[in-house]
Every structure is written in C-alpha cells, then in structure tokens.
C-alpha cells in the first residue's frame, strides 16, 4: 500500500496543473498517467492556444506540455508514475488501484483528484464499422505522436475546433482534406480555424450529415446529405464524396468511469458533453475526498483545464496548507475562469455549469450574442461587410504598410494586443472583445503576424511598386518557399488568383514555425490574396 496526501489521476493539462499546485506547496503528491509520457492531448496540439497572456496564449500546446513536464520532473514532492492505468477507487476501503508494469499497485490517498479527460463520441450511420473510419483523436495520435500518415483523402465529420484543427494538421502532413461537414447550420469551432482551412481550399458543408460510408473492404467514399432547419434530411440532396478515410470529430464525452464506479453523484448535462460529476465551485464532488478537473468535469479547452487543475489542486490541498496566499490565488483562478468563459463562445459552458452547480449562480454576466455576421459563421470566409469594417481609410492604405486583423468573432484571446511593440492593438478590458488597430500607431512592422493563434493577421504594403503590392502572411506548411520563388497566390477560398513572387521569408526561432512569407502581386489583389501554394 502506497500512502500519499494527494493522488492525481491523469497527466494531461488538468492533472499536471493539479499536481503542480500541490507539489509547489510541499504536499506529498502522486501523479499517475496511463501513457508513457505526460501531456495528454497537449502533446498533439501543435497549434497555438487562445486565451490570455497569463495562461500562455499564443504558445503551442506541445510547448506548454514540455514546460509543465519539466516542472513536474523537478518537483521533489511529486512522484510520477508513467505507463500507469487507473483501475478503480474502492471508496469503502479507501484504496485506489493502478496497473503499472504488469502489477496492480494499491494507493491509499487522503485526497483524490480525477482528471481523466474525455473520449470521442461515436456516430451511427450505415457501414460505420468499415475500416478507414477513425476518430479525430486517433488520426491526431497517428500523425503527431507516431508520425504515421493515416490516409490520403480524408472527409472530416464535424466542424468543432478539433475537426477544424485536425483538418489543418492533416494538410500539414500532406493529406488531402476533401471536405468538412457539419450538421448544424453554422461552424462549431472558432471561425478563424475555419478560415485557415478555407484558405487551403477545403470545402465546408454546414447543414450536412453523413448518411453512409461506401466501400466493401474499406472506405472508398461517403454519401452525405443536406439537413433542413429541423435537422431532417432533404431528399434528393445526397452527394457522393470520394475519400479513403472518414474522420469523426463529433464531440467529446467526459471520461467518468472512475467517478461513476466510486459512487459519485452523476448528472447528464448536454452542454458539458454528457455525463458529468456533480461538483461545487471548488471542484469537489459528492464524495468529499474526490475532486475533479478538466474535460471530465465538462468539455472545454485546455486553458480552462489547466486553470481547473490548479484550482482542484489548491482546494484539495487546502486542508493541509492553510495559507492565505493560496486563498487569494483560488479566488484569482475562479475569476480567470469566469473571464475565459464570459464571451459569446462560452455561452454553452456557462449554461452547462449553471445547471450543474445547484443553488448558486455560477455566472452572473457573460454575453450570449457576438457581433459575428451570419455568412461568416456558415462559411468561415469573411464577407465584404466584414472586410470593410476593418480596413483603414484610403489615405492610410496608400501611405505605409499596415496590419489587417481578420478577426470577426469574439473569442477570449489577446496575443496580438500583448505583442505589438507600439501598443497599436487594443481590445479594452474584456479579452473577448475584437482587437482594434490604431492605424496612427501601426508602423507595419508585422511582428503580430506570427503571434496570432488564428493566423488571421496579414500585412499589406499596397504601394510596393508602381503596379504591385505585397501581402505578408503566416505560413506553416513545408517546404518553406525561397525568396524569389514564383508561387500560386490564393484567395480566401484557396482558389488561385494569380502567380506571385516571394519577396521575403521571415523565419526565426521566436516565431516558432509560423513563418511569414511576403508575396508580390498585382495591386488589384492586395485585399484578396491570402495564401500561397508552391508550384511543383
């Protein structure tokens, strides 16, 4: 029997943060993780995070994972058990069992923090057991952990952030994404993620669902169908799409086995992804010594998971610490979580949490409607109206280079604000606000381009020469074009508009693989050219 003050189950963002919160306070902590490495989903998250500076917005998930892992390994109070799968908690005997190296270990913790994350939802459609049908998580694991190309032509089902991000990563891995379909009438994830794949030419079908997988031995295609407003199939709209992989990204469910086994009170809340433990604002469940954090407490982003992890860690350890400073930190985390969830994109989680935490109103405020425009939500492509709303005046356009932020959806994010050396970008007090550029301060230095997690910032030099402009854009594909190379220049839908010459390639360690390519194009295209494609 291994005795410990705190046992944290799950080495993802929530579990690591929980263990660190305890370890930093000199509490004896055991962290167990099923895989042979820490980081959970962070390991696969090669994209930059949204959120605020304090929560490391703008950093890639994989980098955050590296830093957290290093801290865990250095902390003497934390005993790390890798390759260790949680088996169960026997509440009456107060024994937590774990399988490691072919042996069942028995732990006797004073407090438990469960942060087991989530698993992917499944979908019922005809032939859904054909080889070639994957969950998006599996595809991401194959690509980003094992370096295996999962398929050649992928149809993505679901346009939540995972579906959009994995589509982008598939293209980075040299896989063709033949389409993203979404049953809802609008894109599920952040619109900037959708814009990214639209610029790469991926079609997006909102109000569509998959009817069946086609193929005998393996997937050779899919039949999709349009849905009406009431989610009913519209006859005659069936379409066949050729593909060798159908990738399901239809949402996540909290992985609650351990809690359900232990006898924690559970409740079904659709907004939180399904069955979740009943808990209070300190992340404590109906069983006093069990705390929860991260996706299993309600599906959200990694940033929220890290905050919840720290919160659960501090609250669980609080009986051993009794430190006023930690009480202040607890209040601060709660406040940060509230800010993170206060924008229009946080309305779902707010509504879920309000159902969960009975007797208290978890959120007083929070905005439910954003300023997005219908068409953009459906297509991921900004409308003329969107674009007019951000362009500086004619005079400024013609003067010197300027940055253009194609960000039309209120999401919690601030790296552009924090990285402008001239303080030209502001968003007021709420990180959900859209950023605004003060064009009298913008020098056109372009340092914001590689900072934007949504890859939504471009630098325009309209009068590069008498007949040409340059557009500088973020570029995360390989190979990186060379200066002087002639490339295809694409519009916001990934369609070729013209050939252009690469005049500058900015690439350094600080930019962390978001290179900035400047391409010279005829002047008329300065507000159309938004991507490049290398000519083979």
């Amino acid at each position: 029997m291994i005795e410990t003050d705190i046992l944290v189950v799950g080495g993802g963002p929530a579990g690591i943060s929980a263990a660190l919160a305890c370890g930093r306070n000199n509490i004896k902590t055991v962290l167990i993780e099923e895989r042979d490495f820490l980081g959970g989903q962070l390991i696969k998250q090669t994209h930059r995070f949204f959120g605020s500076k304090e929560e490391r917005a703008g950093s890639r998930g994989i980098r955050i994972a590296e830093d957290l892992m290093n801290e865990i390994k250095k902390n003497k109070n934390i005993d790390l058990y890798l390759d260790a799968r949680a088996l169960g908690y026997y509440e009456e005997e107060k024994i937590f069992t774990v399988l490691q190296n072919g042996r069942m270990l028995k732990f006797s913790p004073r407090k438990l923090i469960i942060a087991t994350g989530a698993f992917e939802k499944s979908l019922s459609f005809e032939n859904n057991d054909l080889p070639g049908i994957y969950g998006a998580g599996a595809v991401q694991t194959l690509m980003n952990i094992y370096g295996v190309k999962p398929a050649e032509r992928v149809l993505m089902i679901g346009s939540g952030n995972i579906g959009l991000i994995v589509s982008y990563q598939l293209i980075q891995a040299g896989v063709q994404v033949v389409g993203v379909i979404e049953a809802a009438p609008e894109i599920g994830g952040y619109a900037v993620h959708a814009s990214k794949i639209r610029r790469l030419g991926v079609p997006l079908y909102t109000s569509h669902t998959i009817k069946k997988a086609i193929g005998n031995e393996f997937v050779t295609g899919a039949e999709i169908i349009e849905l009406d407003r009431n989610w009913n199939e519209i006859k005659g709209t069936e379409k066949k799409i050729d593909c060798d992989c159908i990738c399901l990204s239809v949402g996540l469910s909290p992985l609650v086995d351990i809690l359900s086994q232990s006898g924690c009170e559970m409740v079904y809340i659709p907004e939180l992804g399904g069955e979740v433990p009943v808990r209070n604002e300190n992340m404590q469940t109906s069983i006093d010594n069990i705390y929860v954090a991260g996706d299993l407490a309600g599906i959200e982003e990694a940033t929220a998971a890290m905050l919840e992890g720290e919160l659960a860690g501090l609250c669980a350890a609080n009986t051993f610490i009794n430190d006023v400073k930690q009480d202040e930190r607890i209040e601060k985390i709660k406040n940060n979580l509230e800010v993170l969830r206060s924008g229009p994109k946080g309305s779902k989680i707010r509504s879920g949490l309000n159902k969960l935490i009975k007797g208290e109103t978890f959120f007083q405020g929070g905005r439910n409607t954003g300023s997005e425009i219908e068409a953009f939500k459906k297509t991921g492509i900004p409308s003329g109206e969107n674009l007019r709303s951000i362009l500086p005046d004619e005079k400024r356009i013609n003067e010197t280079p300027f940055a253009l932020i194609e960000c039309f959806q209120e999401i919690p994010c601030d790296p552009c604000v924090n990285n402008c050396p001239f303080g030209a970008i502001t968003e007021g007090t709420d990180i959900n606000n859209l950023p605004k550029i003060d064009y009298s301060k913008c020098t056109g230095c372009g340092s914001c381009i590689s900072r934007c997690p949504g890859l939504a910032i471009f630098l325009i030099n309209k009068n590069y020469s008498e007949n040409t402009s340059t557009v500088s854009m973020p570029y995360e594909m390989l190979p990186v074009p060379q200066k002087g190379e002639i490339v295809d220049v694409l519009d916001r839908e990934g369609k070729k508009i013209v050939s252009g010459k690469v005049v500058k390639v900015l690439k350094n360690e600080k930019m962390d693989k978001t290179n900035v390519i400047s391409v010279e194009i005829p002047k008329e295209f300065f507000n159309v050219a938004r991507n490049i494609r290398l000519v083979k």
Partner: protein, 94 residues
Amino acid sequence: MMKEDNIIVCRCEDVTLKDIRELIKRGYTNIEEIKRITRCGMGPCQGKNCGQIILREISMITGIPVEKLTLQRYRPPFGGIKFSEVLGENNDEK
C-alpha cells in the same frame, strides 16, 4: 430507408441500431436493461461508444429527454486487468 442492421452501435458485442430500436419498442427503455439483454456496455469499453447513442435512441423513441433517463453504471476495474496482474505475477507472456 436506413439499413439499421448495417449500423453498429456497440463495437464490443456487435449490436446494431436495429437490435436497439426493437428492444426499446418492446418496452426496454432503461439503458441498464438494454445492457443486460444485449451485453451492450459489458465489453471492455463498458459502453463508451454505445452508451450515448443508446440514450439518444431511448430519448427519441420515448420522448423523454436524455437528462431524465437513468445513466449506465460503470464498474471497476477500468480497462480490465489480468489475474496475474492483480497477483503481481507479471512473468507470464513476457
């Protein structure tokens, strides 16, 4: 018409959407009942794939919102464990 018998709901025990819908229509409207009759959710995954689909089907056929339905109960040990591993004898099969 959808071919319900071509739609797998439970991968562990090969149960189809047709099987599930027939049981619900026969009056088995509790996920634990369906689990006991079809073994859906008794496989190694303990219902992670099928559970939500079954709840949704029960809800659609009975008109009761999923929030009001009984949820399935998970049981230890999560993911399964060999007898030799419980006993700490990991020298077989190596």
